[in-house]
Symmetry: C2
Subunit: 339 residues, 2 copies
């Protein structure tokens, strides 16, 4: 049997939520590593909302533009199968920009941001989704931009998502009072078990009324994974010197027309700050962050929720599901099945 490289490519530009026909499956001959290159075998791929932006060819994450038929961008964990690169040996485990494919030949350029995977006591699924850009995002955005202090009130939207469920737990570690926002009773129950002091189910509750009820001293930190109306509601309820961390805007990604934030000037009344977060600004903290996360996981202070789908064929379904909100925790796909 000839070994093939399996790939998921941009079949069509998604309109609204992505659908199966937006993804194009291809098989191509196994690539060969040239001088200065490595051949990587994908073990796990992470799934993140931004991938729809890649497919639409919207600028995001500093990745190069994609034509129809190009392999979709995606980070994951891989094993070095073959190396003609001085810094890598066969068997090394790395994480970085692999794309939606089972194999990749790479010169391990700066742009692909490959990092060697440490903390082997944790699984590769942890590596791809926790000790990864997701964990780095949650950790550095919450601590560097949010600047939490014990006793403060923290509201986290997208609280059952990959970044959100980690931020909820970090906020508890920091001694904060934590209100999570998620869609549906099941997600709310899960996040509550992770330590949230109270939950708001945005699909069934009046968010503004619940915020008023649950945050009598207003919001010190609003950690935003969704944008739109919930961001606007939180802007109306800021405590003095509040911080907003803009991490994601999933509610915006599939809107026909963008949400217009009419009450941005509420930042002035509260002398508050809204930080836009871009993960690649924080790569120098990667090792320190992972060491801290691994410690919290080891001591049980942090319980990662990893929502793992099995099999490379599940990639489109995995991303489509994120947009219908069916994931709890951080989502990844196990690509190599026999380990």
């Amino acid at each position: 049997m000839t070994l093939l490289n399996k790939q998921w490519c941009v079949g069509a530009r998604p309109e609204g939520k992505p659908k199966p026909s937006d993804f194009l499956y291809k098989e191509s001959p196994m690539p060969v590593a040239g001088e200065g290159e490595v051949l990587l075998e994908t073990l796990y791929l992470g799934i993140a909302p931004v991938m729809r932006m890649y497919m639409m060819n919207l600028p995001a994450g500093g990745e190069p533009p994609l034509d129809l038929g190009d392999v979709i961008h995606g980070r994951g964990v891989a094993r070095v199968m073959e190396s003609r690169h001085p810094d890598y040996s066969v068997g090394d485990i790395v994480q970085g920009q692999l794309g939606w494919q089972t194999h990749k030949v790479s010169k391990m350029t700066e742009r692909e941001r490959f990092l060697k995977v440490k903390h082997h006591e944790l699984s590769y699924a942890h590596s791809v989704r926790i000790l990864s850009m997701t964990g780095l995002t949650a950790y550095t955005s919450f601590f560097d931009q949010g600047s939490p202090r014990a006793g403060e009130t923290v509201v986290v939207s997208g609280a059952a998502g990959g970044v959100g469920h980690m931020v909820v737990q970090m906020a508890k570690i920091a001694g904060c009072h934590v209100i999570g926002i998620a869609g549906g009773a099941e997600k709310c129950a899960v996040v509550k078990r992770l330590g949230a002091d109270a939950m708001i189910d945005y699909k069934n509750d009046d968010v503004a009324a619940k915020i008023a009820e649950l945050c009598p001293d207003k919001i010190d930190i609003y950690y935003d994974n969704v944008g739109g109306e919930i961001l606007s509601t939180c802007l109306d309820n800021l405590a003095y010197n509040a911080r907003i961390v803009l991490c994601g805007s999933i509610s915006e990604y599939t809107r026909e027309e963008k949400f217009g934030l009419q009450n941005y000037a509420m930042l002035r009344r509260a002398n508050a700050t809204m930080h836009g977060y871009f993960v690649y600004n924080y790569l120098d903290q990667f090792d320190a962050c992972n060491a801290q996360l691994a410690e919290w996981i080891a001591t049980g202070q942090m319980k990662p929720l990893i929502d793992e789908l099995i099999g490379f064929d599940k990639m489109p379904e995995a991303l489509i599901g994120v947009y219908s909100g069916n994931n709890i925790g951080t989502r990844c796909v196990k690509v190599k099945l026999d380990e």
Copy 2:
């Protein structure tokens, strides 16, 4: 002749820009200081866009709500005419919440935020408009929230206004490259003379095209006095780690419907921060700020533009003019004429 207290009161809630019939003139008997009170004689009153908000009874600046017929809020400089308060003596010069009136009896409460005027080598007009909340605003917002570094590109909207023309000069003192935005050739010429490296006339130029042309390395600090479309344009042109200081939103104040900021998530792409500024958070810096401003004025590094109208009867006209953009520099009204 009986001495009267002259007052300008809320005659009607302004719809859109304020007009003469929104102001109600009253005369009342001279008030008398009781135990623990002082009688103040107003020398100067400052004029600020926020005063229209007071008249509309919109929450602003932490001032108490106003009914129709109430004296309009306003800060100014006054002389103590009579004192039955242990901390004040006859002849003291103070600045604080006087309201639009020639005399006030006050218990000098916390809420009125009275401060004794120092730096007597400068005029009272300087006290009311430069060594005042206006100067404190410009100084602390620009330096604390803007965090300027030499060589950075700073864009200042409302650059010919009270706060704006000071920020332009502070940015030059900080070694920045400064682009001002103002309405009309005359204002642009004035701000250019104050040191701006280039000006954009928003009434006649294509602001987005000029920003692109004048900021090839994008914007490091956008100092916002206007909000709305210009804020949105600057959000599209942020350098990495940029800071936006939201000081005022005069373009918003008279809109029928509020502007919806659709591109707030651009903060994420630039890892940028948007700070809302509220001056009363910075009162502890008042003396240090005034000492610095007085020094810059003495050395000629800071040239305050004071747009002074003469006579208490000019108060309505002074505020109406701010909303038609006819002021250059910081506006005040000389209330007591014979000194």
